[in-house]
C-alpha cells in the first residue's frame, strides 16, 4: 500500500517533472530524491518543494526532486524501497527507520537557538488542575501514537511521576485518552473543554488563538527531545550526501535564510549528532516500538 501510493505520488507530484522512477543506481546518477512529510496542506508543500529543490539542485549540481508522502511511515518506506534518498522526519520515526533500514541522521532543525525542544502537558488556566496527579480519571488528548512530543514524552511525565506504571497502563490512570491527529487538534480539544489536558510540543500553544493562549497554562515539561531531523538512506553516495549537507548548512547564511520557510520554517540546521537520539531510542524501547 505504502509503496504504491508513494510511487503514484512521485509521479503526480514530481517537481522536476521529467525524472521517472528507475533503479537505485540510476536514481543516484540522476540526482537526489527528497521525501517530505505533509503538515497542513500538501499542495502548498508542493510549491515550497519546488522552490527549495530548485535551489538545492543549483547548489549541489545534480537534479533534485521532491515529493510528498502521506505520512512518516510512507517516507521511511520510500527510503527503504529506493523511492527516496533523503527524508525530513521526526526523531521517533527516525530511530525506527535507523533500526529497520539503517537510516542515517544528517541534519537537525534548530528552533530558538537549540536543536531540541520539549513536550508539555497543557491545561486550561481556569480548570483548577495544577499537578499531573490532578488529571487522574480525567480526559487527555495527545497528537498521535507515533509522535515523540505528541505522545511518548508527555506520557513519560506521568510515568516519571509514578502515576502511570508504564506505557501500556495509561488507561488505568486517565478517564479517556484521545489521539486528536496533531498538536493543533489536541490543543483545540483542550482549549474548547472537550478534554481536560493535552500533551504536545512546548510550542503547541502558539497554534491557538491569541485569546486561547492567555487561557492555557502548562503543568509539566519533559526532558529535551531532539528536534526533527533530515535523514538519508544508508546506501546514498558519500560524496552526494556530503554535498547535500553542505548545501543545507548554507541555509544558515543570512542571504539564504528566507529559503528556510520552504522547509517547515526552522531557524536553521546543524549537523546531526547520532548520540543525541539515545534518549529517543530508549523511549522507543520502553514503549515497545524498538527491540
Amino acid at each position: 500500500m505504502w509503496i504504491r501510493l508513494s510511487r503514484r505520488k512521485t509521479l503526480i507530484l514530481s517537481v522536476a517533472g521529467a525524472v521517472s522512477l528507475g533503479t537505485r543506481l540510476a536514481a543516484q546518477e540522476e540526482g537526489l530524491r527528497l521525501a517530505f512529510i505533509p503538515q497542513e496542506n500538501p499542495e502548498k508543500l508542493l510549491g515550497d518543494i519546488a522552490a527549495i529543490t530548485g535551489w538545492l539542485a543549483d547548489q549541489i549540481g545534480v537534479p533534485v526532486e521532491g515529493f510528498v508522502t502521506i505520512d512518516h511511515a510512507a517516507a521511511v518506506e520510500a527510503l527503504r524501497n529506493g523511492d527516496a534518498d533523503i527524508s525530513f522526519m521526526g526523531a521517533l520515526p527516525f530511530v525506527l527507520a535507523e533500526a529497520e533500514i539503517g537510516a542515517v541522521p544528517l541534519l537537525s532543525e534548530v528552533y530558538r537557538g537549540a536543536p531540541n525542544y520539549t513536550a508539555r502537558i497543557f491545561v486550561r488556566r481556569d480548570s483548577g488542575i495544577e499537578t499531573l496527579a490532578d488529571l487522574g480519571g480525567k480526559d487527555i488528548a495527545f497528537a498521535d501514537p507515533i509522535s515523540e512530543s505528541g505522545y511518548l514524552y508527555p506520557l513519560a511525565e506521568f510515568v516519571e511521576a509514578g502515576l502511570v506504571a508504564g506505557p501500556g497502563d495509561a488507561d488505568a490512570f486517565f478517564g479517556r485518552i484521545f489521539f486528536a491527529g496533531g498538536y493543533q487538534q489536541a490543543m483545540q480539544a483542550m482549549a474548547e473543554g472537550l478534554v481536560d489536558a493535552a500533551g504536545a510540543s512546548q510550542y503547541a500553544d502558539l497554534l491557538l488563538t491569541p485569546q486561547q493562549q492567555a487561557e492555557v497554562i502548562w503543568i509539566a515539561e519533559s526532558e529535551p527531545i531532539p528536534s526533527h531531523v533530515v535523514i538519508a538512506q544508508p546506501g546514498l553516495d558519500a560524496d552526494l550526501r556530503s554535498r547535500f549537507v553542505d548545501a543545507m548548512m548554507r541555509l544558515n547564511e543570512a542571504g539564504n535564510r528566507d529559503l528556510l520557510r520552504y522547509l517547515y520554517g526552522p531557524d536553521g540546521y546543524v549537523q546531526a549528532d547520532p548520540a543525541a537520539y539515545d534518549g529517543v531510542r530508549d523511549m522507543a524501547r520502553r514503549y515497545g516500538l524498538l527491540e
Binding site: 505520512d71 497554534l207 491569541p210 485569546q211 486561547q212 493562549q213 520554517g265
Partner: protein
Amino acid sequence: MIRKLLGFVIFSLAGAMVSFGPAIATPAREAPWLPDAAAYRLTLFLGNLEPLPWDDVEAAWSEPYRNSEFSADALTWLGEKSDIETGPLLDAMARRDRQSLFAAATRLMALRIEEELGRALDVDDPARAQQAVRTAGELYRAFADGVAAADPEASRRIGLAWLELNSSTGSAGVLGAGTTPPDRETMVTARAVISDYLAENYLVDNFAPRQELSPLPETALLSGHDIEVPPSLPPGSDIFDQDPLPLLVLNFEAQGIDETDLPLVAYGDMLFDSAQIFGSPARDLGIACSTCHNRSDVNQRLFIPGASHQPGAIDVDGAFFNPIFNDRRDDPLDIPSLRGLRFTGPYGRDGRFASLRDFTRNVIVNEFGGDEPTPFMLDALLAYMLEFDFLPNSMLTADGRLTDAASGAARRGEEIFNRPFVGLGDRSCASCHVPDGNFLDRQAHDIWSASPAYEGARAGAFDTPTLLGTAYTAPYFHDGSLPTLAAVVDWFDETKSLDLTDAERSDLTAYLEAVGSADEPYETFDAENTSFRLAFSELTTFASTIDTLLPRRDAEHILLLTDTVAADLSADASTMSNLAGRPEVYALAERLAQVGAAVRAGDWETAEAHWTAFRDAADTIEERAF
C-alpha cells in the same frame, strides 16, 4: 498603532473565535481553508451584501480564493476530489436565486463531509482513513461556528465525535512498529453522531427562508430563537498590518516630548487603535482606525472580499459595515495616508468634509456603525491625529525644492513639474501640487480620473492629494487604478496631451519618486526591539491616561480604555519572542482588567490600588517585554 503582527499563529476552527469579551485588534492567522469550504464561506458572506454581487459569488467557486494556498478553484477541486453533483449549485447561480444558492451550497458542503466520512470507513489503510477524517473535519469547519453559536451542547458532542473518530482510525506505525488496528465499531458510532446532525440541519430538502445567510443549523433557525453567529471575515480577507511596518512620525515625539505627558493625545492614540468605538461587525472583527491607516499611513494589504476591489482599498459605505449607511454603489476607495493630516484638509477623497472632527464622527458613527462618540473622544482623536507628520525627506527643502541629495534625473523632472502645459490649461503640475504647500492646494479638481456616474454628472472632482510620502503608498488615484508613479506620469501625458518624450517621462517620474521618498519609511526591528516591545510600550502609554481619568472619576472613558488595552495586551502577548515572558504580560493585562472591574463596581479605592500595582508591574516587566 501596531496590533496585527501575528506571524505564525494559526487556528482552524471558526468556532474558536466565538467566545471572547472585548474585541481585540490582534487577528490570528487562520489555517488554510479547503477550496470548497472557502467557496461556501465566501458564498455566505457575499450573499449577505446588498445588492448581491453575483459575479463575485460565481468567482468564489470558479477562481481560487485570494491568497489561497491551493492552486485549484472550488469547482475544479470538487471535480478532482469528489463525486458530488455541482449541478444544483450552478443552476442556483445561473438563476441568481439567493435561497436556492444557500440551499445548494449548504447541501453540497454537508454531502462532501459525508463523502469523506464514508471514505474513512471504506479504506483499510489507517493513514488514508486519517486523511479522510482530517479532510471531513476541515470541511465541517465551514459549519462549526454556526453550531457553536446555536447549540453548544451539540457542538461539544460533535467535537468529541471528531476526537473519537480520529482516535479509532488506528495507526499504521512505522515499518510495523506501533501498529494499532482501527476500531470500526467506534468509528461507526462516532460518524453517526456527525452524520445525524448533518442530516437534520444541513442536508435538508427544503430549508426555511434565510434573512441572513449563515452556517446556523436549520433546527436552530426553526426554533425561532434569536441566535446570532459572531461575525467573521471570509477566506481571502486580510486585515493584518503590512510588512515592513510604516514608520510613524509624531510631531511631539520627534521633539522629544513623552506621550505619557500628553494624556489627551495618548487617549486619542488608544482610540485610534480601539475597535470598541465602532459597531458590529467592525468591532467584533477587531477593525480599528489603525487597521486601514496603520501607523498613520495606509495598509496596502487590507482586503475584504465584496468590500475591496483590490488590496489597500475598501468601500466603507457598502453593505458590510453599516447597512443603514449603505449607498448601494460599488465604489471602493484606495485608502489615503493620514500623514501630515493637519495640512491636508478638506477631508474625504472629494474633500466633502471641511472639518476633521465632522469627518471623524462620520467614520465612527456612519461608516462603521459605532455609538455617538463623546466630545472628549473626538477631542482626543483629533489631538492625536493632528500630530501625524510627513516623513522627513533629505531630498526636499522645507519649501518643496529638491536638495543636492536628489538625482540629476529628478532635477530635470523638477523643471518639467513646474512647466506650464497647454493640456493642463496653461498650468503646471505644481499649480495644484504646490511645492511650498506640501504639494497640494486644498482644492478639488475634476481631472477626468473617474467616469461620470450618469450622463451629465459633474461629480468627478477629487481633492488634490499630497505627493509627500507617495513612494510607499502605491497604487494611485482615488480608486487605486494606477500601479506606479510612472503610470501616473503616463496617464497625465496621454490624457492631457503633454507630449513628453520618453526621457522626460522618466525624469518626471524620478522627480515624483524623490518628492515621495523618505529617509526612513519603515520601522526596523531586531531580536529585542521587537514588534511586541513597540506594542507593549504603546499599550502602557495608553494606560497612563488613567492617571488623568481616575481622579476625575471618569468611568466611561476609563472602561473604554481598560476594555481595549487589557484585551489587546493579553492578545499581543501571543506575538512575543520571549515566550517565557508571556505569563507576566497576561498577569499585567489581568491587573488592568481589574482596574476596569473595580470602576464598573464603583469601587474607586480598589481601582486606584490595582492601577498602582499595574504601573509598578509594567515597570518591572518592561525589559523582558519582547
